[in-house]
């Protein structure tokens, strides 16, 4: 890294080298049987430089001659975007716990056992189910150095246990699933097994729902698969700056229900989305996005923050290219209503567990529309069964403007969203006519 930086410094006014190495071991089960064990090692090195006020960029996956990487970056800066920022000076980063040594001690045999036990506990409940299970452990090490003397480095461990099950009866397919992630080894399979069994219980029989506007309870998985994509783009400082977010110009305004609070937090201990430094050497922080329904902040990297005349929130994140604003962990605050009290309140409504395709519409405008992969009908205060061939559509700005109730418990979904159940009204539900 030092060699790349010193060569780049000879050419450019400022330079930064970012390197991430990872070692990941996934164990896969297919159709209830152990299928494949993998071992993946990857190193990638990215060089960003500023010359003549413009940004050049090149990345190498695997080994590359330092000279070559510098030449590649040098080819791009004449066309690059004007840099509005300086690379960060040396600083003291917050101490964020993201590494658990125990990950190294988990053997492949233990991961195989974990998968087998998980599958056997689900099969005990539903013998005909076919499960795909993945147990994955990994470690990542991130290093950043720049020409201003800035230096950041940290290690992260992670573990993920996930299950997708399918139960086929005649031509009816029922899909259930869930996953848990942590920087600690996830060796207790009970929470996952209990969740899957709960889904199987609630989906035991198929029922028909009406085509009309009705109340919907989004479970934590339902929030992730229905409402999350439009929210993530709405709070991206870059889309706000470009006017591609409906929240542009809405800072300080009441846009959402008073009960709705949302923040981004990269400082939570042992969460897989946490970090002490973002991918360009800015300290991580907790950033409130919505306080009691009022829009309070957006997420920024260095360049976007400079364009928008504000400060980076430590959300510069790389996805194979230059850093761009991305959430770390998103947290929706819990409310005070028990899930079953929400159910009791509904005459006819729907509980959404998984929606497919919801993120494939005009998410910029807040619109979502998807097929209910897993959802349950509520009738006169009781869950009566599973619905299918059904679509749910809405707009997050309308749906979250008046929230009927917020669940009193939260849980983590997909490793980066912590949310309670949200009970909303006036969703458009459409189903096939019999």
């Amino acid at each position: 890294m030092e060699e790349i930086l010193s060569k780049a410094k000879k050419l450019a006014e400022q330079a930064e080298v970012f390197q991430v190495s990872s070692k990941v071991t996934p164990v896969h089960f297919e159709a209830n049987l152990l299928k494949q064990i993998e071992s993946k090692e990857n190193v990638s090195t990215a060089l960003r430089l500023i010359k003549g006020g413009k940004i050049g960029f090149a990345q190498a996956n695997g080994y590359i001659e330092p000279e070559t990487l510098v030449e590649m970056a040098a080819e791009t800066y004449p066309f690059g975007m004007p840099a509005k920022f300086d690379f960060p000076n040396p600083k003291v980063y917050p101490k964020i716990e993201t590494f658990d040594q125990q990950i190294d001690n988990v053997t492949v045999e233990e991961m195989v056992n974990l998968g087998e036990q998980l599958i056997s506990s689900i099969k005990q409940h539903t013998p005909d189910i076919l499960c795909e299970v993945s147990a994955t452990k990994g470690t990542i090490s991130v290093n950043i150095i720049n020409s201003q003397g800035g230096e950041a480095s940290y290690s992260k461990s992670f573990f993920n246990l996930s299950l997708e099950g399918v139960l086929i009866k005649d031509e009816d397919m029922l899909f259930v699933g869930d996953s848990y992630s942590s920087c600690h080894p996830v060796l207790d399979l009970r929470p996952l097994a209990e969740e899957i069994i709960k889904q199987l219980e609630l989906a035991k029989r198929n029922v028909i729902i009406s085509t009309k506007q009705m109340p919907v309870i989004f479970t934590p998985n339902g929030v992730a698969s229905s409402l999350l994509a439009p929210l993530v783009s709405a709070f991206n400082g870059k889309l706000v700056f470009d006017g591609a977010s409906p929240l542009k110009g809405k800072l300080g305004e009441q846009v959402f229900d008073k009960k709705f609070c949302l923040h981004d937090d990269a400082t939570l201990p042992y969460q897989v989305a946490s970090y002490p430094s973002d991918d360009e050497g800015v300290s991580s922080q907790r950033t409130p996005l919505v306080d009691n329904g009022v829009v309070s902040h957006f997420l920024y990297d260095l360049q976007t923050a400079a364009l928008a005349n504000t400060q980076s929130t430590g959300n510069g994140s790389r996805h194979g290219g230059l850093p761009t604003p991305s959430p770390s962990s998103l947290i929706i605050d819990k409310g005070d209503t028990h899930f079953w009290d929400m159910v009791k309140d509904i005459t006819e409504g729907l509980i959404v567990e998984f929606l497919i395709g919801a993120e494939q519409g005009n998410t910029l405008n807040g619109d979502f529309s998807g097929n209910v992969l897993l959802g349950y009908k509520v009738e006169k205060g009781e869950i009566t069964g599973r619905v299918k061939d059904t679509m749910v559509s809405g707009n997050v700005y309308q749906v979250l403007k008046q929230i009927e109730a917020i669940g009193h418990e939260t849980r983590w979904v997909e490793g980066f969203l912590s949310t309670p159940c949200l009970y909303c009204t006036g969703l458009s539900v459409a189903t096939k006519m019999v």
Binding site: T76, I168, A244, S393
Partner: protein
């Protein structure tokens, strides 16, 4: 690869060069280059797979040993991959213009498109994302196959974003090619129309949710056939699932006798075309559905052996970081005889849906979204609608296709995602088709 007591071992080495240009509004957001070098080893022992991926291509023998050790932890059954003849071949890229055309020329073309978008009144901003890649994959197996394949790919996505009174609407256009830069040139008129449509959507109404007779244009019908049927034809969903095998039994009727669905990398010069798949199996052209009847499915060597069917050359990996899995290549509905007029003329009330935002499937249920939609009233195209998301059930919807046009077109933009491997270059296509009773989400 020898001397490890494995049933089968393969090694893949890969070198890739990528150039990326991204505009957001007037800002040239990113010009970047990526070089990748890496490889993997896959080993099979008694039906269990070990897989090791790496950047450091030294000490391959140790990596083979690790993959074999992993596979041995799993292997319990007597199993052989389906037989193929060993092949020795070197395949050049058909065209590789994107790597020879200077950055300044690419930039000039993209800026011309961007200016067209941004000069349209009420357009707020734009997104332009261009990638091209040059890839050399060397594959060798313990059965004596040695193949070098050189591949080029170019992909362009343009989006126009309009806004007014807090409303935001967007329309996109995706194109791609196997290294033919001309395929993404000359789009000025299309880009202009796209930007204007984004503006028109600001005042367009939303469709009322419910069931409709719908007509799909060739681009969206291509996404439909990919999501609604293509994924279910991938044998890795079926080969270990006895119930699904009963449902997907060859010879079963899925649609009308005019319905023919094809997938094949051997169909030349499309984005999903190649000579050999990532297991070294020669590409084929496969009729998934012929005359409405399920005829065959897409296979890797493993799924073909397990189901006692022929391998089709559909095992693909997006990069050395992943093992090959069963994927589509170029998937399309063959043309029929009807004109567009014939298809819409007897529809009293329906929806004409064009172009795509995206699509996804659970195998049984699928959704696909149009970026352009119009009401059809009394056999005529009527008012513009906000983009619609359509949904169906594979066991019902294919049988509801009751008209197939004569105007097959292939779409080369976008890419396919499966098991974390995305976006894989594929192409989809179809003529105009009509589907009865298709479910649409809306107000």
């Amino acid at each position: 690869m020898q001397g490890h007591k494995a049933d089968y071992v393969e090694i893949r080495l890969e070198e890739t060069q990528i150039t990326r240009i991204i505009y957001r509004g007037e800002r040239l957001e990113e010009v970047g280059r990526t070089a990748s070098l890496g490889g993997n080893v896959r080993a099979l022992v008694k039906g269990g797979w070990g897989f090791v991926s790496f950047n450091n291509i030294q000490n391959l023998r140790d990596k083979v040993e690790l993959a074999v050790r992993q596979a041995r932890l799993i292997g319990k059954e007597d199993f052989k991959l389906s037989q193929i003849e060993p092949i020795i071949d070197i395949v050049a890229a058909e065209k590789s213009e994107p790597s020879t055309i200077p950055l300044s020329s690419k930039k000039q073309l993209l800026e011309e498109y961007n200016d067209i978008i941004l000069s349209t009144p009420k357009i707020r901003t734009s997104n332009i994302s261009y990638h091209d890649s040059q890839r050399k994959v060397t594959f060798a197996s313990s059965e004596g196959t040695y193949i070098e394949q050189n591949k080029a790919d170019a992909n362009l996505r343009l989006t126009a974003i309009a806004s007014e009174d807090g409303q935001i609407q967007q329309v996109g256009l995706s194109l791609g090619s196997q290294g033919d830069f001309a395929a993404i040139g000359g789009l000025q008129e299309q880009v202009k129309q796209m930007a204007q449509r984004a503006v028109d959507l600001l005042s367009a109404p939303q469709a009322k949710a419910g069931e409709y007779t719908i007509v799909l244009d060739p681009v969206l019908a291509g996404v439909f056939v990919h999501e609604a049927f293509g994924h279910l034809s991938e044998a890795d969903h079926v080969y270990e699932n006895k119930r699904l095998q009963e449902i997907m039994v060859l010879g079963r009727r899925f649609g009308d006798k005019h319905l023919n669905i094809v997938d094949g990398a051997a169909v030349p010069r499309l984005r999903g075309s190649y000579k050999y798949d990532d297991e070294g199996v020669p590409a084929t052209k496969t009729y998934l559905v012929r005359g409405g009847i399920l005829e065959s499915r897409l296979h890797s060597r493993e799924t073909a052996a397990k189901m006692n069917e022929k391998p089709t050359g559909n095992a693909r990996a997006i990069s050395y970081l992943y093992p090959p899995i069963v994927r589509m290549t170029n998937t399309y509905i063959e043309p029929g005889t009807l004109s567009f007029e014939d298809i819409i003329s007897d529809i009293k009330e329906g929806i004409y849906a064009r172009d795509w935002y995206g699509g996804t499937t659970s195998l049984e249920m699928f959704t696909f979204s149009a970026s352009e939609a119009y009401m059809i009233r009394n056999g005529k195209i009527a008012e513009l609608l906000r983009p619609v998301v359509l949904s169906g059930n594979v066991f019902v919807t294919l049988d509801n296709i009751d008209a197939i046009g004569n105007d097959l077109q292939m779409n080369q933009g976008g890419g396919c995602g499966k098991r974390g491997q995305s976006p894989l270059p594929v192409s989809n296509g179809s003529p105009h088709i009509r589907i009865r009773r298709c479910l649409i989400g809306g107000s």
